[in-house]
Symmetry: C2
Subunit: 512 residues, 2 copies
C-alpha cells in the first residue's frame, strides 16, 4: 500500500496552474494526474480531487517563524533565509506584515528587491490601512486574514460576518486593481461555523480572489476532519485553496497531506516548523511525507540535499534571549537537574551561534533518522536498504549508519563492520566476536571506538600467543561482569539457537 523509494508512482511532474497571471489559469485546479501504477497494486490510485502530485509551498519562516518565541531576525538574516528558501525551490515566501513595525516594512521592501524566483507575499489583517501599506512594498501578493470563529469574533476583533464579508470584498478589489495576487483566509477555521465559513469563501470567490485559506490556528484539527472540510470547500469555490496547520497535537504534516488529497493546492510551512507556540507544518516533514507520495515531483522541484543546510541556517539564525527566562516559566515547580543543565546550555547558547537545536527526532535530518540498531534490522538493511527505509538518505546528501555497538546487535552487523575495518574472519569467528561485543554492551554503553577496539583485539587474539584484554581500560569489576555475561550468553538457549540457525539473525531487538 506504500510505495518504496524505488517504486514511487510515475508522475508527469506538471505543476498545477495556480499562477493567477497565467491566462490559461482554470481557477479550479483540483484535477489530479492519473498516475501510472508500477510495482504494487496497493499504491493509492490517483483520484481527481488530489493535488498530492502538484502542490505548492508557501514558506512562512519569515512570517509565522518570526512569531516563534525566540525568533529575532535582523535584515541581513532575513535576506539570507529568503535567498536560501528561494534556492531550495519554494514557490512563495511569506513575510511579516509591513504594518508590524517600521523595520518590518523596510525588510519587506528589501526582500522584494532581491529578484528571487519565488513570489513574495506579505501577511496582513483584512483591513484597508494594512492593504494600502502592503501594496506599496513591491510584493507579488497579499495574504489577508480575519478570525471567523465565535471565539475570535467575541474575544479578538468583535466584528460580525456581514462586516467581515464587506471588508474582505473591499480589500480584494483594491489589491486586484493593483495587479497583485490576493488570498483571503479565515482564522481558526475548524472552530468556525461551517455555514458562515462557506458563505464568506463563496462571496470572495465570486469577486475573483486568487486563493482562499483554511487555517487550523489552534492546532485542533484531525486528518479526516481536514479532508472533509477541504473536500466540501473544493465543491464551493473555484479558486485555489491554501492550508495552514499548527502542530499542537502533532498532526500538522498529516493534516497538510490530507488537505492535498482533498484538493487543496498550497501548503504553508516553516523551516523546523517554527511559529506561534510549538509551530506549524515543518518544511522537512512535509518533504519526507511527499517524497513517499510522489518522489519524482518533489525531486523535480526542490533541492533536497540543501534541506539540512537550510535547517541549520534557521536554527542558528538570530534568536532572542528569551529561552533562558522562558525555561523558568513554571516557577511553582522545583528545578530539576535536567532543567538546570538545560538552563546552562541555553545560557551558553546566548553567546554561541546555536539558538535552537535540531530536534533529535526530526524527520530526515534528526541525527538518527537513518540509523539502524536492532540486529534483525541491520541484517536486512545490509541486504537491501528498502526493507527498513522508505526514504533514501542519499536523496538528502546524507548517509546510512548501521549501529553495531550495542547488545541488540547481530552478527550480520558485526560482519559488515569487520569488513569495513579490513579484517578477515570466518563466520564462526564473527559469531564469537559478536557474543563478546554483546557481553561488553551488557556491562556498559559502548562507543563505536570501543566496539571497534573489541573487534580489532578479538582479531589480534585469534593469532596472538598471549590473549590481550578486549578493552584496555576496564576495571576489575567490569572485567568480572563481562566474563559472567559472556558465560551466560554462551550457556543460554539463545546461543543454541544462534548455533542452530545460521541463517537467522540473533534475536536482539525484534522490530515492528
Amino acid at each position: 500500500m506504500c510505495p518504496t523509494p524505488d517504486a514511487a508512482p510515475a508522475t508527469n511532474g506538471r505543476a498545477n496552474g495556480t499562477d493567477a497571471s497565467d491566462p490559461s489559469h482554470p481557477g479550479f485546479t483540483g484535477i489530479a494526474t492519473q498516475r501510472t501504477q508500477r510495482s504494487s497494486p496497493y499504491q493509492p490510485v490517483g483520484d481527481f480531487l488530489s493535488n498530492v502530485s502538484r502542490f505548492k509551498i508557501i514558506e512562512s519562516t519569515l512570517r509565522e517563524g518570526e512569531q516563534f518565541a525566540n525568533a529575532f531576525f535582523d535584515t541581513e538574516t532575513k535576506i539570507q533565509i529568503a535567498r536560501a528558501l528561494d534556492d531550495f525551490g519554494v514557490d512563495y515566501i511569506e513575510l511579516t506584515s509591513p504594518a508590524a513595525s517600521e523595520q518590518s516594512r523596510k525588510d519587506c521592501e528589501a526582500i522584494c528587491k532581491l529578484g528571487l524566483k519565488a513570489k513574495i507575499l506579505t501577511h496582513v489583517r483584512c483591513h484597508m490601512d494594512d492593504a494600502r501599506m502592503a501594496v506599496e512594498t513591491g510584493v507579488d501578493g497579499l495574504d489577508v486574514v480575519i478570525g471567523t470563529s465565535s471565539y475570535l469574533r467575541e474575544h479578538s476583533h468583535g466584528k460580525d460576518m456581514t462586516y467581515i464579508i464587506n471588508t474582505a470584498i473591499e480589500v480584494i478589489e483594491f489589491v486586484k486593481s493593483k495587479g497583485l495576487e490576493i488570498r483571503f483566509s479565515s482564522e481558526d477555521s475548524f472552530r468556525s461555523n461551517l455555514v458562515d465559513l462557506l458563505s464568506v469563501y463563496s462571496a470572495v470567490d465570486k469577486v475573483g480572489v486568487t486563493r482562499v485559506g483554511i487555517a487550523d490556528t489552534v492546532g485542533c484539527a484531525s486528518p479526516r476532519q481536514v479532508y472533509d472540510l477541504v473536500r466540501t470547500l473544493r465543491g464551493v469555490v473555484n479558486c485555489d485553496i491554501e492550508t495552514h496547520f499548527h502542530d499542537d497535537t502533532s498532526c500538522a504534516v498529516a493534516n497538510a497531506y490530507c488537505a492535498l488529497e482533498a484538493g487543496a493546492t498550497h501548503v504553508d510551512t516553516s523551516v523546523l516548523g517554527i511559529g506561534e507556540r510549538n509551530g506549524i507544518t515543518t518544511l522537512g516533514g512535509l518533504m519526507a511525507r511527499m517524497m513517499v507520495a510522489d518522489r519524482d515531483y518533489v525531486m523535480s522541484k526542490y533541492k533536497l540535499h540543501k534541506l539540512k543546510d537550510l535547517e541549520n541556517l534557521v536554527a542558528d539564525a538570530g534568536m532572542s534571549p528569551l529561552p533562558l527566562s522562558s525555561a523558568l516559566h513554571t516557577p511553582d515547580r522545583p528545578l530539576q537537574l535536567s532543567t538546570f543543565v538545560t538552563l546552562i546550555n541555553l545560557g551558553n547558547q546566548l553567546t554561541s551561534a546555536v539558538q535552537i537545536n535540531i530536534p533529535f527526532n526530526n524527520p530526515i535530518t534528526g541525527f538518527c533518522a537513518f540509523t539502524h540498531k536492532a540486529g534483525i534490522h541491520a541484517k536486512a538493511i545490509l541486504n537491501n536498504p528498502t526493507t527498513y527505509e522508505i526514504l533514501k538518505p542519499e536523496d538528502y546528501g546524507l548517509s546510512r549508519y548501521v549501529h553495531f555497538a550495542s547488545r541488540l546487535t547481530g552478527w550480520n552487523a558485526i560482519k559488515s563492520r569487520v569488513e569495513q575495518l579490513g579484517l578477515t574472519m570466518t563466520d564462526a569467528q564473527v559469531k564469537l566476536c559478536t557474543q563478546k561485543v554483546k557481553a561488553m554492551a551488557d556491562v556498559r554503553p559502548l562507543a563505536i571506538d570501543d566496539a571497534d577496539s573489541v573487534i580489532r583485539t578479538f582479531h589480534l587474539n585469534l593469532t596472538a600467543d598471549k590473549e590481550r584484554p578486549l578493552l584496555p581500560n576496564m576495571t576489575t569489576e567490569e572485567q568480572m561482569k563481562f566474563e559472567k555475561a559472556e558465560k551466560e550468553l554462551a550457556g543460554e538457549p539463545e546461543q543454541k539457537s544462534l548455533d542452530k540457525t545460521v541463517d537467522q539473525e540473533t534475536n536482539g531487538g525484534v522490530q515492528a
Copy 2:
C-alpha cells in the same frame, strides 16, 4: 468542528473491555459510545467504529525505545522508567525480548516482580524458542511479530506465508496454554500483500489470539490509508487491534488517531517517541491529540501533570555515547559551525545527565508550547485563553506565558505586563510605552528583563524632572537607531491607525 478545552464532548469514561481475562470480554470491542453534543454542532459525531474514547496504551519505551540509537538502559534505569510509566497510568509496558541478551532476560524478570498495575509484555520473534523463554519470565503476555511484506520475506527471514501461519498458530496455542495474553503482529504491514495479511490475521483470530497488530515499520503510511486498512481488518477479525506507527514522515500521532477512529483498540507509544531511526508515536503527542478528542476519558486515566517529569526521566536516562560519533556520519560534508557547536554540546553531554534534549517543538512540554507572541494573539489570550489554546497548560502542571518583549507585541500585552509589575498608567501612556518597546525591539533582541526595564523607566520618566535613558547600557549607535525607529513609528500610518481604532490591537504578527 473542533471542541474547545471547555467544551469537550461528554463521555461515560468507560474503558473498552479489552481484558482477555474478563469473562464479559466480547471480542469485538469496536462499538463507540454515542457522545452527547454540547456547544457546537461541528464536533465529530460518535460513530460505532471509533475507539477514540476508550483506547489503551502499550508503552514501548523499554522495547522500541531501547532500539533508539543512543539508548542504554541499565537495570536500575529500566525499573525507574517502568515505575514512572505505571504511575502515569499506561495500560501495558512492553519490554525488550529476553532472548536479546542475558541482561535483557534478567531485567524482564525483575520488572515482572515489581507488582505494577500495568500489564507487562515482552516483544519476541514469532518462534517457539523465544516464546518458551518469554513465558518463563513472569510476563502477562507476549507480543509476537513476523515480517509479512515481500521485502522482509525476501531480505530478512525468507519464510513463506504458510510457514508464517503455521508457526503463528503453534506459538499462539502454546502461549494461551500458559494462560497469557498473546498478540500476533505483522511487520511492515503497509507494504504487505492485503490478501496475505487478512489471511494470516483471520487464521490467528480463529485460534483465539488476544490481539492482532498492524505495524507501519518503515513509517510510510498516511492517515487515510491507516483508516482504510484498520477498518477493513475490523470487519475480518473479532479480537482487539493494536497499532504501531513509525514517524519517518511525521504522521505517527495522526496515524494512531485515525486507527482508533477506524476501530483499533490499542496504540503503541514511547516517551518522546524514541525508537529505531527517528522513532514512533510519542506518548506526549498522543496525549495532546486525545485530550482534544476526549478530555474526560484521558483525564480519568492518565496523570498528565507527570508527563513532563516522565519525559525528563527518559531524556536524562542512561544513553550511550553514540551521538558524538554519529553526528559525524556524513564525513564527506564540510563541518559547519553549528555542527561543531553541536559536537561540543554532545561532548559535554557525555559527562552530564542530559543525554537528549526535549525537542523545542515538543507537544505540550516544548519550551514554548504555551507561549504566545503576536500582538493580536496576546490580546485575545488575555481576554480568553481558549481563543488560541486548544489545550489548557494547567492540565499538565504548566503555565501560560504571553511574550511581550518583541516588535510583534501589542499594547494589550504591555498593559498586562504593566499591571503585573504593579505600575499604573493610562491607556494612552501604555500605547506610548508600547511604541518604545517596539522601537527598542527593532534595534536589538530584548530579554524580558530588558523590556521590563524599558517599562519601568518609561513609568519613572512620566513623573521625573529629568528623562533617563530607557535602557542603561545602550551604545550611541543603538540610541540613534532607537530614536530613528521611534520617529518612524510615530510618523507612520500604523500610528494613525493605532490612534484611530482604540479597540483594535496593533497590527504586529497577524496570525492564522
